[in-house]
Subunit: 424 residues, 2 copies
């Protein structure tokens, strides 16, 4: 693994993949086409991009049943258990409406209401994981969203993988369509004959999906743009080099673009982890992916102090941060930016991927500076609620009218004064 100095990291600049002009043009064309020709366009693009000729887009009851039959009973049980744990955590993070009525005669508060309808994009191919279905669907369910629609590109056989359909079923999704890419995003945002539009689209996808989501932002809401997975392990010399190396590799195997970074002030640990990574990578089934990922985006950063380690961590703002130190709580308060923070030796990152409960859809590419894990908050919205009784109104009315006039808004002032006059 290559070594970076702290200042290499601290000087780094970030970019967002805005797509090439050509990619943007393709997305625009597809989206305009779906808006005008609707289902017909969806079916044609599914032939063109996914190689599947479908007679209908919606997954049938029979396909759900077959998917269940294809899976081992133990695996289904495992899925059910994981779904339950994820549900439990998200129930805890759920917010509720609140009001405060004051003796001056006002009542102010916030009403929390679930979104009506949400679309979940599930990528096709090797990137489709049942755990991701749970992480996108369960918070929406817990938040109280009534209609959850899943879209996913079919394989060449015209089908969606069994695990994905079973996960959808366990999570309570009945409405699944076999369509992917920018065309699926357009359908979710604008609606077609067979797909009614939704209010928000979540879930990861390739650059075409990301550009399409960006284009419909405002017509519907979208989640963050997902980038490649990242881990930073912040470790002192009490950490086991074997465990640190194994955790770095568990990120590296995801994708060539994943990044796995060790930040430490122990040169001994740095050397030992470098050796261990080389040893362990050798017999991984996804060895090539892991090696490419480590070569391009892996790094070991040796700092001169704990302060500098934390500066580097906060600059990276990693999706996953493991704190493998003697006293992880000692530094927790100094971590400003991270999607998920794993404390101590037994909180290996894969623990958070499946069964712990917190969401594994996390901000990537440094967006933990301003974004949060997916959660129930993403599937509700707030409305302010304002009530003034007669006394409270008259006590503040002159100030309100004066403020309105200061801003040059006479009709605002008069709306107040009309009510003042009626008292006189």
């Amino acid at each position: 693994m290559k070594r970076l100095t702290p200042s290499d990291v601290l000087r780094g600049k970030r970019n967002v993949d805005a797509g090439t002009t050509q990619q943007l043009a393709i997305v625009e064309r597809i989206m305009a086409d779906v808006r005008s020709r609707q289902d017909e366009a969806l079916l044609e693009y599914t032939v063109k991009f996914d190689g599947a000729t479908l007679s209908q887009l919606r997954v049938t009851e029979e396909e759900f049943v077959q998917a269940r039959q294809q899976m081992k009973k133990e695996d289904i049980a495992l899925l059910q258990q994981a779904a339950q744990r994820i549900k439990t955590f998200h129930e805890k993070e759920q917010r509720h409406s609140w009001f405060q009525s004051e003796s001056n005669g006002t009542m102010l508060g916030q009403k929390i209401t679930p979104l009506d309808a949400v679309g979940v994009y599930v990528p096709g191919g090797t990137a489709s994981y049942p755990s991701s279905v749970f992480m996108n669907v369960i918070p929406a369910k817990v938040a109280g969203v009534e209609r959850i629609v899943m879209v996913s590109p079919p394989g060449l056989n015209g089908r969606i993988p069994a695990e994905v359909l079973v996960a959808a079923h366990i999570a309570g999704v009945q409405e699944v369509y076999k369509v992917g890419g920018a065309q699926a995003v357009a359908a979710l945002a604008y609606g077609t004959e067979s797909i009614t539009s939704v209010d928000k689209i979540v879930g990861p996808g390739n650059i075409y999906v990301a550009l399409a989501k960006r284009a419909v932002f405002g017509v519907v809401d979208i989640d963050m743009m997902a980038g490649p997975s990242e881990i930073v392990v912040l470790a002192d010399d009490t950490a086991s080099p074997k465990e640190v190396a194994a955790d770095l590799l568990s990120q590296a195997e995801h994708d060539e673009r994943s990044s796995s970074i060790l930040v430490t002030f122990s040169t001994l640990l740095a050397d030992q982890v470098a050796d261990e990574v080389e040893r362990q990578v050798d017999d991984l089934p996804r060895k090539q992916i892991a090696m490419d990922s480590l070569k391009q985006h892996g790094a070991i950063v040796v700092c001169t102090s704990m302060e500098q380690c934390l500066e580097v961590v906060n600059k990276i703002a990693p999706e996953h941060l493991e704190i493998m130190m003697k006293e992880p709580l000692r530094v927790l308060g100094k971590v400003k930016h991270a999607g998920a923070i794993f404390l101590g030796r037994y909180s290996s990152e894969p623990v958070g991927d499946y069964v712990a409960g917190p969401n594994h859809v996390l901000p990537t590419n440094g967006t933990a500076r301003f974004s949060s894990p997916l959660g129930t908050d993403d599937f509700v919205k707030k409305s302010s609620v304002i009530y003034y009784n007669e006394e409270a109104f008259h006590a503040q009315a002159p100030d309100i009218a004066r403020f309105a006039r200061m801003e040059g808004l006479e009709a605002h002032a008069r709306a107040i004064e009309i009510r003042m006059e009626e008292r006189e």
Copy 2:
């Protein structure tokens, strides 16, 4: 005011202003220019678009002092009072980190951390209001954001209006730059010699500002795209036609594109309000704006039942909703989509603009279906926190490894098993 039938409203479709190709090209050119030539480009665009030749971008201490001297003492006191009320409300809505430690040996929770740096865009000209400065800045302050930067295009005299500077000062903003448009957004997102980049950009602006914000979304976070202001008054025959008309006009005077809609099942009220609007509009200083707005976007919708009224309201998903009915609480639970809900006769919309406390930056153009008022939530982010002790880990480890293998991620399974082996 024109009459619409409920089905006119329910059939309506929405679009988002995606900008013309020409506007997009202008924004791209400006942004690329700011990234390469930085301050030099900012100063040139300020000459070109704002007609102001500046020697430096940052507002000086002296300018703040002069602004204060230009304002009446009573107006400053009014601003301070409003700032205090807005602060009080936002302190109530603030969230805190939470953790739950369970007897099985896990601790799970969420750490809430303020963003490091936020940029607030304040439009120039007649659309710059001190109340908007408060509504954008105070939630960020309450959330704990350390660095808040304001940008606003200067007038021809090279200055920012006194009220805006005084409001900034009261709200605790010291860093203000005289720059607007797409160039200001580029500077906030990427940084220049004199403006250090921020993590999130909020505040309304024209189409160029909106397109620039959309383009940097991902490098930084942005708030929603602000559209023209809207009000729906839901009223029964207990409402005063004078008051309803005055409230409709207080929206209509904002902007020709504002929309003011009465929804009722009382044909009597509908007729009376139509007459009152005509009467009251006549001697408003912003009469022409109000009349244009009412003509293009104003409407009275007479429904046949309360159910239908609510269907219409939820379809519109208005920024502001006044419920001027005998028992407003009776229908509150059926309102699904609205930015702010004003209950009863004395909760006239202007009450919420200045002094009540809840934020007046609200979702427009139907985005209340999925967006919320601006608030402290917009200036913090969450990090999941996951801790497993040895026992909790070993109890779940076999399941985690099995799940990882089901998803084809061997290195994930091994990261778990390395820790299992070390126990044996």
